[in-house]
């Protein structure tokens, strides 16, 4: 017994790496909505980069330690307090038995990640410990944490000393985002003058946003589409545009197939940013070719690998 949930917050989930390989049977990958922030948190406590951690959404979480442990918080910026005293993000924090850790509301970004040395014990289903809420799979009994839940450590904590993330590896979020993207396979269904808008105009993140997808408000696009497309595969990062003309950027819990035109595809490198979008944020798409996107992916891996060896398997 290690941590007891005192204040569960809006939605706190146990998340790890994605549940890859089952999309053909309708099972989404799930996993941390911002995989890079998950890796950064795990790094600070000596875990595998994709070890199970807490994904804390918007309103924070309050926990009480029942035994000594080491934790670290990354991702959306928030105030941390241990027994009422301020503590820092991006560093390894020691909690003594009985101490309270309060993760405050997200100030910028949407999701903070709390990792614990040794990783959280979680239900592994179809190869991943990640929670997929619609089917109640994985994580902590397939659901969001509730007050009174008892979280346990899965393995032996590594005897890593206390660390902090070097400044150049700390991400700073704003309320304005640029996501690199390729034109989607059905972008030609946008009427011509609207296709031009896709990579030029800002969108506004709608209140309709969750791990499955983010509605991007804009003046409605017009489509040359009857709405009778056959279902196509869709993935995290796919931007679908229903007949309403208001596009959806799909997230880690995205359905596996869909019948709406796919007008853009966010590059692999920028998909993790979807997990940090919050209501009212502005989003622009920056056009990339497939080859440019892969070059940028390799460059980013080279940069991040210095602090996060093995990140190229996740990001």
């Amino acid at each position: 017994m290690t941590l007891i949930v005192e204040r569960p917050g809006l939605q706190t989930l146990v998340q790890a790496g994605p549940r890859d390989g089952y999309r053909n049977r309708g099972v989404p990958g799930a996993g941390a909505a911002d995989i890079l922030s998950l890796a950064l948190a795990n790094r600070l406590v000596g875990n595998a980069l994709d070890a199970a951690a807490l994904e804390v959404t918007l309103s924070g979480v309050g926990l009480r330690a029942t035994a000594p442990c080491r934790v670290a918080v990354t991702g959306a910026s928030c105030a941390l307090r241990i027994d009422g005293s301020a503590a820092g993000m991006h560093r390894c924090l020691e909690l003594a038995a009985g101490q309270h850790l309060d993760v405050g509301a997200a100030e910028s970004g949407a999701r903070s990640y709390l990792a614990i040395a040794g990783a959280f014990r979680a239900d592994s289903v179809l190869g991943s410990a990640s929670t997929y809420l619609p089917a109640g799979l994985g994580g902590y009994r397939g659901r969001s944490l509730a007050a009174g839940d008892v979280l346990e450590i899965a393995g032996d904590p590594q005897a890593d000393g206390s660390r902090e993330t070097p400044g150049r590896f700390r991400l700073i979020y704003t309320d304005s985002w640029t996501l690199r993207a390729l034109p989607g396979a059905e972008m030609h269904l946008l009427v011509e003058e609207h296709a031009e808008r896709l990579f030029h105009e800002p969108f506004s993140v709608s209140p309709r946003n969750d791990r499955m997808g983010v509605q991007l408000d804009t003046q409605a696009f017009r489509l040359d589409s009857t709405g009778l497309l056959d279902s196509r595969p869709v993935f995290p990062g796919t931007v679908q545009c229903p007949e309403s003309g208001i596009p959806f950027l799909l997230g880690v819990d995205a359905q596996t197939t869909g019948g709406y035109p796919r007008i853009a595809e966010v590059t692999r490198l920028d998909r993790h940013l979807t997990g940090q979008l919050r209501t009212g944020n502005r989003v622009r798409f920056l056009q990339r070719s497939a080859d440019e996107a892969v070059r940028e992916l390799h460059a980013a891996h080279e940069f991040w690998s210095e602090w996060l060896p093995g990140i190229d398997a996740l990001l």
């Binding site: 053909n24 619609p134 799979l137 279902s231 869909g258 692999r268 990339r288 398997a313």
Partner: protein, 209 residues
Amino acid sequence: MNARILRVADDRFAVPVESTARGQALAAELAQLDGCIDAVGAIACVEVRFDAAATPAARFRASIRDVLSGFRGAEPGRGLVHEIPVEYGGAAGPDLDGVCAALGMTVEEFVDRHTGGECTVAMLGFTPGFAYLDGMDAGLAVPRRNVPRSDVPAGSVGIAGPRTGIYSLQGPGGWRIVGRTSRQLFDPDAPEPFLFAPGDRVRFVAVNR
């Protein structure tokens, strides 16, 4: 098989296929490729997500081409036939009356025709275990709802165009719901979590008429 291989994202290729069954078989083969993360068969295409960090796109495209050149088509499925009990209409099938009105037939005729033939599981997709079925009586085709429901119960039997399908989980959905089955399509704790596999056949049986 000389299909076009299209790059549809920095880490994804699409291959058009002429039938859903071929797509399912092809997806199963492509899933075995080095560097493949997910191979997904849909109605008219297969898409493969590959590890673009570790596998050069040109090499992965060549691997797909090799699979296609040796691909003989769909193997016969495992041939299971499922009898699926369905409660038609009422709270279990809130769109049934509207569908019958649109089709100009009585509820009795609709149920006779929906239970009359045998459907084939074309694919699983959307959410875990959701079954897209081919082979419904063509006279029962109706479009999706204009406005999707936010909360369709698990087991709901729906129609979208020429296809009928069964919702595996509670959640949002736009198909016209004509009934509901008590059978569980997805059970993560079972040794085989998925009730159906592509190629299985399905007979609906009305339990309340």
